[in-house]
């Protein structure tokens, strides 16, 4: 299989050689993490505010759809053309694309909470900030995490495309391979980036299961109560891949 030649060549896995595959994976993860941190710092507080107060809810409802319909390649190229080549325009584009799924699902997570739970917390004498951190966030966590999971996939995928305007990471193998007509290099990039995305998604889905409060996920239910509340573990708020 000459398709796999590049992928299987030990030289391309040698950490001493520049452009080796592990270092590209690290770069790719680095862009993904930076983007997700910045996007979360913006989207989670805004989503919590909108969900908690119910104000500006049209923003949160429409952000998901608007974000999905933005062509990722177009946004990257627009920012690069306006700002110039470099890391900054690409990270801005990635953050813009990562915000909608996180914002929408944070909002949806808070809205989906049974008002009786919030009323009960109020009745127990919790202050609004306590209600937010001790009732609303834990109960909304499954949806918040599913938004983060969608955003992760979106960013890993879009960072690959962004190699066309010079971003490092695994997209380099795809873009350079295409430019040089080295199809085995393209395949190496595609296989590794697909594997990376799948592994990250599996990790995200396990974290989603572990972090969610047992009372919310239904794990704490006793055998006699046979009706488990359904918790969505899949990509509930899917985005462009």
């Amino acid at each position: 299989m000459d398709y796999l030649e590049y992928l299987l060549d030990p030289e391309h896995w040698d950490l001493a050689v520049t452009g080796n595959i592990p270092s590209l994976v690290v770069d790719h993860l680095y862009y993904t993490v930076i983007t997700l941190v910045i996007a979360s710092l913006i989207a989670i507080p805004v989503g919590l505010y909108i969900g908690h107060t119910g104000r500006f809810s049209f923003v949160a409802i429409n952000a998901g759809n608007a974000g999905r319909s933005l062509p990722t390649l177009g946004l990257i190229i627009l920012l690069v053309t306006v700002i110039g080549f470099g890391l900054l325009p690409v990270i801005i584009a990635l953050v813009i694309l990562a915000i909608p799924p996180i914002l929408t699902s944070t909002y949806a997570g808070l809205r989906a909470i049974n008002p009786a739970s919030v009323d009960a917390a109020k009745g127990m004498g919790m202050r609004p900030i306590q209600i937010l951190f001790r009732v609303e966030i834990p109960m909304a966590l499954p949806l918040i995490l599913s938004g983060l999971r969608s955003a992760t996939l979106q960013v890993v995928s879009t960072a690959t495309v962004a190699s066309y305007v010079g971003l490092g990471g695994l997209g380099r193998l795809l873009v350079d391979g295409l430019a040089l007509n080295q199809y085995d290099r393209v395949i190496a990039g595609a296989v590794v980036v697909a594997a990376l995305a799948i592994v990250l998604d599996l990790i995200a889905s396990s974290v989603q299961r572990l972090v969610v409060s047992p009372g919310v996920s239904g794990r704490a239910l006793t055998r006699t109560s046979n009706k488990a509340p359904s918790s969505s573990v899949g990509p509930a708020t899917a985005t462009a891949g």
Partner: protein
């Protein structure tokens, strides 16, 4: 920008048409394929999790990677439009199978029992009762799949078949914003139009939702 549109009218129109069919053929194929798959996932409960898990793995694969992995697997040329169509079909199916299954599962058992008691056999009950009731959930999934497809098509420009995506690359090469704006605006408008059409279809075929009754 007006000048750009006037001069390149023909080119923009061709890119738009290509974008339209690259985005929508996969949606139609995905409906045809995911309905039976979703039904199987509901009918044979053991298959639900395998089907949903395979779907979410396929959905995780980045688009550019999937476009380029297909040629050696299915034997198409690297620059063939078929790669885009098949990749988008895979994404749409991955999303729709779960939605169809969840939609069918959301049908109240009391309703299916009532239908059975009225003499509906399995197939007729499925088409006359269960599918219409599941329609709002399924169409919500179809909206997501369609809008996502319209947006992903432009990535295909990197392998030479990307509808409006070609305008983005042209703008980058010429350092010229007009084609980039035209491409983004047309792409977003196309996605919004498809979205609205599906919403209208849903209103037309599920009048009970609007009437305030419970589905």
């Amino acid at each position: 920008m007006i000048d750009y549109i006037r001069i390149n009218y023909q080119l923009i129109w061709e890119a738009f048409q290509q974008h339209l069919y690259l985005a929508l053929i996969p949606v139609i194929l995905a409906i045809i394929i995911s309905l039976p798959l979703g039904y199987i996932a509901v009918r044979y409960k053991k298959l639900y999790y395998p089907l949903v898990n395979i779907s979410s793995i396929l959905y995780a694969i980045p688009s550019l990677a999937l476009f380029l992995l297909l040629p050696p697997i299915i034997g198409t040329g690297v620059l063939s439009p078929l790669n885009i169509i098949i990749a988008l079909t895979v994404y749409s199916i991955a999303l729709m199978v779960r939605v169809v299954a969840d939609g069918l599962n959301s049908v109240d058992p009391a309703i299916t029992q009532a239908a059975t008691a009225m003499g509906y056999r399995r197939v007729r009950r499925l088409f006359a009762v269960e599918l219409p009731i599941a329609l709002p959930v399924m169409l919500a999934g179809l909206r997501v799949a369609t809008v996502a497809n319209v947006s992903i098509v432009s990535v295909g420009a990197l392998i030479g078949v990307g509808g409006l995506g070609a305008l983005f690359l042209r703008g980058l090469q010429l350092d010229y914003l007009a084609p980039i704006f035209v491409g983004i605006i047309l792409s977003v408008l196309l996605a919004a139009t498809c979205d609205i059409i599906i919403v209208l279809v849903q209103r037309r075929f599920t009048p009970w939702v609007r009437a305030g009754g419970r589905a």
